[in-house]
Symmetry: C2
Subunit: 217 residues, 2 copies
Amino acid sequence: MLDFSSSDFQTWERFYRARFFNSLGGYKSLNLLGTASSTGQTNLGLFFSVIHVGANPPLLGLLFRPHTVPRHSLENFRESGQATLNAVHADILAPAHQSSASYSAEESEFAATGLNPAYREAFQAPYVQESRLSAGLLYREEHRVEANDCIFVVAEITWVRLDEKALFDDGLIEHSAIDSLAVNALDSYYRPAPFRRYDFARAGEDLKELPWPPNPK
Amino acid sequence: MLDFSSSDFQTWERFYRARFFNSLGGYKSLNLLGTASSTGQTNLGLFFSVIHVGANPPLLGLLFRPHTVPRHSLENFRESGQATLNAVHADILAPAHQSSASYSAEESEFAATGLNPAYREAFQAPYVQESRLSAGLLYREEHRVEANDCIFVVAEITWVRLDEKALFDDGLIEHSAIDSLAVNALDSYYRPAPFRRYDFARAGEDLKELPWPPNPK
């Protein structure tokens, strides 16, 4: 086993260090965040920092690093109060990754990557037509991380558009059925395969495996 | 495509709804959080809500839902200022899942599941001996989510213990090399396989694929 401590971290080259700590926590989900500015300019950002916050009301957390590309997304989300979350599947990985390039505020990542913006009635933020799972988000609150000025935004899910293949009888959105990808660090993409499903664990009882997959809806 | 909105969400049965929104954001990393109380009682909690916050200083975010099992972890983390994050690989999935059962504060999940606590010099929170990637965390700050009383804790990484197989030349911790798992909802575990690696994207330039995997360290 290797062993490192703070005094080692400080000697590491900047990109080595960034990749190490970006990958330490494990796999992340891969989504595109769609927003529009007050003048209607669309923006699309590749987003690795989504966290489940609650189901009732349905809430997601989104962490923004203010000095990286998705800052247009944050500005638009704050001003318009709306954004969309769009799952990335294998067939749209290349344009999704390309959207992480640094485009000016006047240039839409939709036009630059060839992904198509689409609109839901009475919702101004665009979603990604090609995505198999999109959700409409309403801005609820934000918190500034004092340690490094990141912004943690909490959003409420107000609508969901979903390929029927992904929704199973018990409410599970089974991401491998729509070929959703996972990511590690900023550049390494993975395809997850179903491994095991367990029933709710109870103290003093043996684990029960559940059939995989459950019946599709 | 299926289409749902807030008025639909409200009609859903509680567990269906929880599973749906827990899986909406996509794959999550799978870790065990190790802590100790002021009296030295160890605690181990299965944890799906880790987010990368920064590399310099190295920071992670951890979201705690106050009304679910890992609340002993949060109390211990606040009081002692220390915790460990331990990646879950396929061979320890069964005891890791079992640790999500509701044990009393007097009962350690280590003893109940058979996973072994181990200690690093001058650090009181136990790590999981069987894990192939463990990190020591220092409590830095917390924020209360007003919308549902979740607690977002920011922690600094102070040491890392890592199987050498996982560390690549460029700093990437390549989780599939140590068989780390991902999770969806609360019960569905996945094994991710390397899919694609891209160079940093630049506006107006074609994407460049990188070799996979990079040279192991």
